[in-house]
Amino acid sequence: MSVTTPSRQQILGKIHAATQPTGNQADAYAALPRPYIRRGQLSTQACLELLIERLREYDAEVVECTAAELPFTVARQLAGSGRHIFAAPARLPADWLTEGFEWLVDNGLSDAEIEKAEGVVTAGFCAVADSGTIVLHHSAAEGRRVLTLLPDWHLCILRAGQVVETLPEYFDRCDQPAALATYISGPSATADIEMTRIKGVHGPRFLHVILVRDGN
């Protein structure tokens, strides 16, 4: 519900008086200049390499594998983390839930339960190579927002077909505007003390990415 107050009328009245809008916002919007680059120029391979380079600059750990190697690669990453308890979104593909670890599948986990997880494994919506950004739309395979927030270690699995070069290409991939989204560009960081970049403040301190080369 909206709270109608005298201030609402007063503010909108002042804005109306100040701007004298034409009433044809859609046409005016469509006519706005957009001379910037929409599509990237890189080959698929170069685009993947750029993403990997950017992610590594953020201190994220990236490994590549084929679809067939994926379960094994997931297991190796989990084992290499030295962690044992992992959270997973409700609809994470079953073959990613590698045996030998304790899995907390999110069918309505409480924050306290998620807090117990030492890591989390999720899918992603898309990745933008230019800025090294991983996009989550928080679908059932990407997990609720809290799931990729409390655990200190995040493994995100992306298929090569999900990688775009430029940010506008990501927006072109959205059939409709995202209602809920998180764009992650490297692990949590701060430079608030003397502009010294410190990795890991409140979000996950460790970001791992598996890129499935032959996955569309």
Binding site: Y36, R145, D192, E194, H202, P204
Partner: protein
């Protein structure tokens, strides 16, 4: 407070000293100036590198400027659309004409929640309306969660920059504040250790405090969504874990469509912190069942903004996306830091925004706190012509002063009136030069320099010497020179 930190800054434009006076303690504080210059140099170097690699930087600026102008030209339409869509998605929209009303709305919401504590994401708008002291006076504790804001809150300091608000404080000073306020005597001044101390300090608060307050980087009219950009993850914590979220946003923050983020996000982080993208951007729309706060309020704040909108040349001030590139590049800000501006919005954007938000009743010295070099306009990602607005505001301030009683007795005013007379006729000008040469001889030292002048002239000789006038002017030399063929 540690001796190296300046006296307590006043960031309320109704109480702050004029810029030339407020700046004096800063100019006498070498540690503070060193801290500011260091931070600025680091950001500037990173920004320059990342802007240079972006082949379409100018094209992005063009698009961003057009989108922001369009949003402001049609602001009522987009705000109503935002309200409709946000409400449909389960949010509650409130309108606040000024700071007093915004504070009261937020306090009432907190009381309704029965809140005794509230966690906050860094928001300059909340500092603008002085929200924290108001809420605290009503017995509700506020916890800032951005690292820089924690440093300021625990150290009882004021922000001096809109993106890195504690850039005037160095690691030793942070250590001192944390050691004292968190009871960690063995803390070192390693930034990593200090950051970890903040992480531990806040972790339980994030999990336990059920109410949060945020600002907004963008409101999206098309969807009723809100976007917040941040680095540390404290924002995500506040946006995800509490039951209730209250977002305070200036009415100018609206973008027409979701897709406009493709322009803004490419510009914002590069301009602000010299990163290709900030570590976290969060976007949410109303309430999502099972994910994040189940009660969501947006407070839309006017507080002088609609008056700025009414003036065509000034309207561009509201295009600002708060990246701080203008202050990072400003030769004045680099020397003074933020506190001298007497406002939560320092630097060039503050110099035009603060007096206008105060409807020209306060902060009249700020439009003069600039050399008009134009560097701010050049870096602005949304192309705000700050020098143009500065000049407009300067003329308004002069017109205000002209109307003041007793103005004719002001030495500066008298001097300018006399200069006006002198320049009007050549013979008066020449006589004035003759008198000036005679008069200045009394002040000219043996070295040919003037080191001291009385009255208004002293404003010059306070900080620089003046060369004594030569015995002959160019005009008299020209007239008296030996002429060819004669």
């Amino acid at each position: 407070m540690s001796a190296t930190v300046e006296e307590h800054a006043i960031l309320d434009p109704t109480l702050a000293k004029p810029f030339p006076q407020a700046v004096l303690p800063v100019l006498r504080n070498p540690q503070l100036r060193k801290n500011v210059a260091h931070a600025i140099d680091v950001i500037q170097a990173k920004r320059a590198k990342l802007v240079a690699e972006k082949a379409d930087w100018q094209e992005l600026r063009t698009a961003a400027a057009a989108i922001r102008s369009h949003a402001l030209d049609n602001l009522a339409f987009y705000l109503e659309q935002f309200e409709t869509r946000c409400t449909a998605a389960g949010g509650q929209v409130h309108w606040a004409a000024d700071a007093v009303e915004a504070r009261q709305i937020i306090l009432d919401l907190l009381r309704k929640e029965g809140a005794s504590e509230v966690i906050k994401i860094k928001t300059m708008t909340s500092a603008e309306i002085q929200l924290n002291p108001f809420i605290e006076a009503s017995g509700i504790r506020t916890y800032e969660t951005d690292l820089a804001e924690i440093i300021l809150q625990l150290g009882d300091q004021e922000p001096s920059h809109i993106v890195v608000p504690a850039l005037h404080i160095n690691r030793a000073q942070v250590r001192e504040i944390f050691a004292r306020k968190m009871g960690l005597e063995n803390l070192s001044d390693d930034p990593k250790e200090l950051t970890n101390a903040a992480r531990t300090y806040l972790r339980r608060k994030f999990l336990d405090v059920p109410t949060a307050i945020s600002g907004a980087n963008f409101l999206i009219a098309e969807t009723g969504g809100v976007a917040v950009v941040e680095s540390e993850g404290n924002g995500r914590m506040c946006l995800t874990l509490p039951r209730t979220m209250i977002t305070l946003a200036g009415i100018e923050k609206v973008l027409p469509r979701f897709q406009d983020l493709e322009v803004m996000l490419q510009l914002l982080a590069r301009s602000a912190t010299g990163e290709r993208m900030n570590p976290y951007t969060s976007l949410w729309t109303g309430v999502t069942p099972g994910d994040g706060p189940q009660t969501f309020h947006v407070v839309l704040l006017d507080n002088g903004r609609s008056s700025i909108l009414a003036r065509p040349k000034h309207r561009q001030t509201l295009k600002c996306i708060r990246c701080a590139a203008c202050m990072n590049t400003c030769p004045v800000y680099r020397q003074t830091g933020g506190h001298a501006y007497g406002s939560v919005y320092p630097g060039p954007i503050g110099a035009i925004l603060t007096p206008q938000l105060a409807e020209m009743h306060h902060a009249q010295s700020l439009p003069f706190a600039s050399s008009l070099c134009g560097a701010c306009y050049e870096v602005c990602p949304v192309k705000i012509n700050i020098p143009e607005v500065l000049l407009e505001l300067r003329s308004e301030v002069v017109n205000q002063e002209r109307k003041q009683v007793g103005r004719v007795l002001d030495p500066m005013y008298l001097g300018l009136r006399i200069a006006n007379l002198i320049f009007a006729k050549a013979w008066i000008f020449h006589s004035a030069q003759w008198f000036g040469r005679i008069g200045l001889r009394f002040f000219t030292g043996k070295d040919g320099w003037i080191h001291w002048l009385p009255s208004v002239g002293g404003k010059w000789t306070q900080t620089r010497d003046l060369r004594g006038l030569p015995n002959q002017t160019f005009h008299s030399w020209w007239a008296a020179r030996p002429k060819e063929g004669k």
